[in-house]
Structure formats: C-alpha cells, structure tokens
Amino acid sequence: PVAKRAVAEAVQHDKVPRPVGFVPPPPPCPGKIRHFRI
C-alpha cells in the first residue's frame, strides 16, 4: 500500500495545472445529438 500511494502522488505532481475556467474542446466527431439516440 505504501508503494502505491507514493506512485499516485508522483502522478498527481506531474499533472500540468489547468487554467481556471478551462473547458476541454469537444471531440471533433461525432457531433452533437439533436434529438435522441437509438
């Protein structure tokens, strides 16, 4: 368990901080569903 926590923390520290209000761009395709999906 100790080793797992250490790895998790290291990954957290490596993350690039996102600017406040950042919204990731939607995937280019497929597009939005206008009605419903069947």
Binding site: P28, C29, P30, G31, R34, H35, F36, R37, I38
Partner: protein
Amino acid sequence: VPAAPPPAPLGCDDPEAEAAAEFAVNYINGHSRHGYKFALNRIDNVRVVSQGLNNDIMFLELDLLETTCHILSPTPLANCTVRSFTQHAVEGDCDVKLQKLNGKLSVLASKCHSHADSSEDLLQMCPDCPLLASLNNTEVLATVTAALNDHNSKSTEPYLRLLEIGRARIQYHPVHSVFVEFAVAATNCSLGEAKENVEGCQLLPEDQSNFGFCTASRLIRPSEDLSVDCQLYGHQVPHHMLPSLPEYSTGQDTS
C-alpha cells in the same frame, strides 16, 4: 498549378459541416419518393479532401431520424416533428459525397439505409407501446382497406386512392389494436362512380392533384372499433416526386 494548402480539419459541429449536412438532408428528402421526411440527428463524421483552390470534396456520415411528415407533405422539414421514441423510431444512416466549389455545394452521391429501433429497447422503456409491423401484414392491410373505405363512404370529397402505406404498428396488450398511416391521392371519381368501376378512377391531372395523408386506428379486441382521419394537402407536387401507381412501399429505405 501550385498545390492548394490542405484544408483545416473540420469538426462535426463546425458551421461548415452543419451547412453541408443540412444541404445533404434536403437533397435526400427531395429525391425520396416514398415514406417520410428525415431530419438530421447527428453528424457522425466529416472528411474534406481538397481538389484545388476553392474546390473541396466533402464526405459526410449522417444519422437521421424519421419525422411525422410524409415525403409528399408540403410541410417544410423545419416544421416536421421527429418521431418520438415511443412511436418506435426509425433511424437513417447516410453516406453523402458533396462538392464545394467556390462556396457552392452540390451532392455528387448519396447512399442511405434505415432501420427501426430495436423492439426490445422500446419494450423495456414502454412495455405497452405498439411495435412497428410489416406493411404487408394481413391485419395492417385489412385496417388500411377498412379505413379508406370508411373515409370514402362518409366523405363528399373526390374518391381517394391508396398511394402507399407509410407505417403500421400493432399492439397486443392490454388491447389488440392496429395503427396505420397511409398516403392517398384524389381521383376524378365520386363514391358512386368508384363503386361502379373503381379501376376507371384516374388521378386528377397534375395541376389539380390532391395528395393527402390518413391515419387510422382499429381496435380489434375486446371490441371492434375504427377511427380514421384523412387530410388532403391540396397542393401541387413536383413531378419528380409523383409516385407511380399501384406501388407500395415495402421497406424503410430512404434512398
């Protein structure tokens, strides 16, 4: 000729892709002779291949949904209602190839297939909902015949002939009912003339043609009952959209 720069990748929700999809859907509906108008549900994919300056080929993959407007209906697509999930929706999958030359779109090729939503999915959400039935089902045919006879026998308008059955649904529980929709055309006969020689009844000349649409429901069990509603469009249909008689839609293809 210098090579044109590669076009910027186009997203499915980009205005240019949406404009092309709208153009493609109008083309598909405008070239269909049977069934219902389809509305855009989603752009699945878009690919642009440059052919030179201001000359692109666009490949679109579209998801469409069936509306309640028959293809002969004069109602603009924007005013047509997409069929709800509980009406057993029908989806159309279309591949369209377009050219955009100097900003002007044209369709080079299109191929569509349609399929109904799965009955299992519908029954899971709505156990009592009627399910789509085959258009040549004997109960469906009997209901259409009864409905058209009922309308013609009560109407003072010209005798109506069946153009095609658009869709049919049958419900078995808690009551046994049949729901049908069919397109009709007015003829030059009165009811009396039709009774004498129905084969002699011809469609009215094109400039006077009246096309219409009927919905009917027939209760079979626990008791028999029939209700019919026919509305004539009362407009001129472009020649390329005139169906040939007698011809019945036996599938759900939009192509």
